[in-house]
Amino acid sequence: MSAHALECERITKRYGRIAALNSVDVSVDPGECVAIFGRNGAGKTTLLHVAGSLIRNFDGEVRVFGQSRGDNGSDARRTTGLVLHETCLYDDLTAAENLRFFARLYQVSDAERRAGDVLARFELADRAQSVVRTLSRGMKQRLAIARAMVHRPRLLLMDEPFTGLDEPSSQTLVTVLREFVRDGGAVVLSTHDVERAFDVATRAIVLERGSLTLDRSLADVDAAAFRHAYWHVLFTGTARA
Amino acid sequence: MSWLIAAYSAVLLGIFFFVMRIRRLRRGLTPRDDRRSPRR
């Protein structure tokens, strides 16, 4: 895959007078996992929504595996998995029915089998037949992530995926993401949890009032040093080397 | 005859009301007005 998994060029999005995003440039390669940090309202969610073609009119260019989102970008959407704050699941359907529906919607050939595999992968197999409404917050979150992966995307966009997950579930997610990245997938996730981010992210970026103020690989840095740099950015508004 | 006058005056009144509305909207645009104008 020569092209980047995700390329965002000069992304600017305004809501009336407020510039949610101010010419943000980010590119993510297959095999990379990028964690987005930033205060509430810094534009993390907006950036993910723009990258996931949830928001269509913005200035700038978004390409997924070299394929622009100009037209309805159905190929681009087939290769992307999106996890939002909402679960995006039907509360009155069972876990299995939800996954089967979305698998068929995304034209997954072996929908039945794939739904079962993904359920097992997120330890939800035993609750497959229970209606989503009866599941706990953590299980719903895991099911929402499972839904985003059922059509075998190669790019995962996740908005604070760790929220609501207990320790074992977070651990499962970390292993799944590591495997996903190792198999050549690309992940972009927003989070506030520095420790968790360090378990899985290969690179970190910081958004500050809609602008990119830090973009640094995490290869040679440990969590403590990064947290220090991150807070420095937050409180002084300027990136320290 | 009075019906005729009633009809024509109704039309005039309607047009007058619309012009007034346009003026009110235009006045609503001046910077002083930061509240959301009702007819956005």
């Binding site: 996931g52 073609s53 949830l54 928001i55 269509r56 009119n57 309805n72 159905s74 190929d75 959407r77 087939r78 992307t80 999106l82 939002l84 704050h85 909402e86 679960t87 995006c88 699941l89 039907y90 509360d91 009155d92 359907l93 029915e97 529906f101 979305f102 068929r104 919607l105 995304y106 034209q107 209606v131 839904r147 | -």
Partner: protein, 221 residues
């Protein structure tokens, strides 16, 4: 496109079988309206019996909006609507699936309410075939426009209230045609062919228009 429509249709059916929200809401509401008509007007006079079809369809016009409002509420509540908008499929397919489901729910509600209607208004079904056709085409007509506008209204603050305001004026031709064809089926009117053709034209026009326009309604700009 059809494959998507089938998936969405089955999904809506499965949810409806489990919750039975749409059908029960529409059924209870239409029965209520028929009962209220009975109290408000002395229904047992011959003239009133001639208007029975009108009462029936007025009850369904309003009951229909309840069921249709439900149909997109469930997409909005859990945010599943966004996942639908993002699926690499033609939005028209999603529309057709939901529209077919809504038409079916309306049709089923009508059949279930029919016996009560016959008892309340003391009418006799002369031509069952015409009645079934009138119900079917009428339900499709209401579902075609109703599904589109329930998606439109789902994006606004006044969701529940806006749907009837947008939907009922547009359904006037379908309402007139349905009432005329139903009263023909009840033996109260003649020459229904024009009305059946109008219903078919109405269904085709609004199904195609909605399929073409639906992607704009689904998208979140």
């Amino acid at each position: 496109m059809l494959q998507t429509a089938r998936a969405v249709l089955e999904k809506d059916f499965r949810i409806e079988l489990r919750t039975r929200d749409a059908i029960s809401a529409a059924l209870v509401f239409s029965i209520l309206v028929l009962v209220v008509f009975n109290f408000a007007l002395d229904v047992n006079t011959p003239e009133m019996r001639r208007l029975a079809a009108g009462f029936f369809w007025v009850a369904f016009a309003f009951a229909g909006t309840l069921a249709l409002d439900r149909s997109f509420a469930l997409e909005k509540e859990s945010g599943a609507g966004r996942a639908l908008a993002l699926a690499p499929v033609d939005a028209g397919g999603i529309y057709l699936g939901k529209c077919a489901a809504n038409a079916a729910f309306l049709f089923i509600t009508q059949l279930v309410a029919l016996p009560l209607f016959v008892i309340f208004f003391d009418v006799s079904i002369q031509r069952a075939g015409a009645l079934a056709a009138s119900f079917a085409l009428g339900s499709i007509a209401f579902a075609a426009v109703g599904t589109l506008f329930s998606a439109v209204a789902a994006n606004t603050r006044m969701r529940g209230l806006l749907l009837p305001i947008l939907f009922l004026p547009l359904s006037v031709p379908a309402l007139i045609a349905s009432v005329e064809t139903t009263s023909f089926a009840l033996g109260n009117a003649e020459g229904p062919s024009f009305w059946f053709t109008l219903l078919v034209v109405y269904d085709v026009v609004f199904l195609t228009a909605s399929v073409l326009v639906f992607e704009y309604v689904l998208e979140e700009s």
